[in-house]
Amino acid sequence: MKADNQDLPVDIMELQMGPSHPATHGTVKFNLKLEGEKVLDCDVELGFLHRGFDKSCEQATWTQVIPYTDRLNYASSLINNVGYALAVEKLIGAETPPRCQYIRVIISELARIFDHLTCCGMAASELGAITVGFYMIEARELITRIIENLTGARLTVTYVRIGGVKHDLPQDFAECVTQTFKTVRRLMDDCDRLLSRNRIFLDRMSNVGVISQETALSYCLSGPLLRSTGVEYDVRKTFPYLVYDQLDFEVPVGSKGDNYDRFLCRVGEIEQSMKIVEQAVAKLPVGPVWIDDPRFVLPEKEKVYGSIEGLMHHFKIIMEGIQVPAGETYFAVEGGNGELGFYIVSEGGGRPYRLRVRPPCFIAMGAFPEMIKGYMIADIIPTFGMINMIGGECDR
């Protein structure tokens, strides 16, 4: 207690928030030290969803890892698929055909829209804007339908393969995207009108959870969290992969580094992602979606059932896994929450020797105490909401 403090004297109270708290959509526990309602210190306890991703991957073949990557950030599983496939392809030294690269860009951006809609919608509804929550969930549902139409699954998609994608886009894909984006844009306009000048929303979001540029860099933050402080670091621009350098898009940046900036960055990115998808669909080249290399690609089903060579080929790839040469590599893509990197060590053979994911929201949780210190306990909800911690990726 400071001597000049005129308030009633209060003891420091320790409060454990979580691990199952209705407003922390993810199992995470905060051990808080409170002075009244002010947060003095916060210790983040993670690992409630730890299931040994790295160890499991070391037991699986290279292809069997793809379903595991779905379960990392399940709000943007397609980006995880793409990132993993690109990392393995970098180790192999293979480059996929242009059509496959465009498809991968399209699905990455669809997943990014999905991710940001989840984050913003949930954060808004936790602050009482239930309508916005439902509007964004509706928009998300429309995106999910495109993904379902394309991959056959809604959340854990397992669509990308090493050396290609599972199958080509459906016939009506372009039309479907145009229709959906029309509705999504209308919904986003509605949300914008409901939120962007809403007094309650602004009071809860602006100047809360402020983090400076230097601190953000020191905490290794990436993605919307870093960009909200004004740092223009986006893996798609700084280290372009796939065909991002041929597409025209901007990276929204903030200035203050508070929750409202993070919200605006994410909403801005939804619009940019829609622009990217529209460009990519318009530019989509014709051609194969697989690399032409029988070492990594399964034979066609007619060959498998019609010839012994085809059957053996299929059997070898399924049972022994594709053979990846010895070496190590790191490849990063821009995930929904920031730089999603895959560090792979191969000793040759059909299984990874070591597979490490750089989880953007695990690193963001490291900066959470810094963001919340000195604010009210109620400010934890929007701050945590804008981090968009996904347990599957954070705890692996």
């Binding site: 690992g47 160890k55 020191s218 905490y219 290794c220 750089r358 690193i363 692996r396």
Partner: protein, 187 residues
């Protein structure tokens, strides 16, 4: 050894004997550093304006059990946003003394990453402010990502931790006891 990129050649010039080896893997620059004076090496890489490697991307480790000596390697990924360069730094760590200097004084984000490496590999970080387990619980025995840790090993369930100062209503325990008694369950 393939031709070193200008970045790596420059670093080798600056760090001198601390660089054990330089490699190039799939177009990535890889530097193998001595663990002595590691923090100073990183500080130099971060502050040298010609390199501008100011962003720590990732810290992890690899266990080369019965494959390589020394057994462990701590792997750092750093990058320069302005120069658009990535650099991977590998630091060999022996099994009998698995410890490296912590980078938390340089990048505060290293805190969580190093805690994870400690948790899963048992590599200590000297001068780390708060080296506790992070993904696993405190009672966990061993380090699961080491290659000699069996995949299927089951660890016993740990009893509930008594947290000091926690409010517990004793009646709830009595209710459970009564229920157990009526159902005839021992303990």
């Amino acid at each position: 050894m393939p031709d070193a990129s200008p970045q790596v050649a420059f670093i080798q010039d600056k760090l001198g004997a601390k660089v054990v080896d330089i490699r190039s893997a799939q177009g990535d620059d890889v530097l193998i550093l001595n663990r002595a004076g590691l923090r100073d090496s990183f500080l130099l890489l971060k502050q040298e304006p010609q390199l501008d490697l100011d962003f720590l991307s990732d810290i992890t480790a690899v266990d080369y059990w019965e494959k390589k000596e020394p057994r462990f390697e701590v792997v750092y990924q750093i990058l320069s946003r302005k120069k658009r360069q990535r650099l991977r730094i590998r630091v060999p760590v022996p099994e009998n003394d698995p410890a490296v200097e912590s980078l938390t004084p340089i990048w505060r984000g290293a805190n969580f990453l190093e805690r994870e490496v400690w948790d899963l590999y048992g590599i200590r970080f000297i001068d780390h402010p708060d080296l506790r387990r992070i993904l696993l619980y405190d009672e966990f025995q061993g380090f699961p990502l080491r290659k000699d840790y069996p995949v299927n090993l089951c660890q016993p369930r740990v009893p509930e931790r008594k947290v000091e100062g926690t409010f517990v209503d004793e009646r709830s325990a009595n209710k459970l006891l009564r229920l157990k008694k009526t159902l005839g369950i021992k303990n």
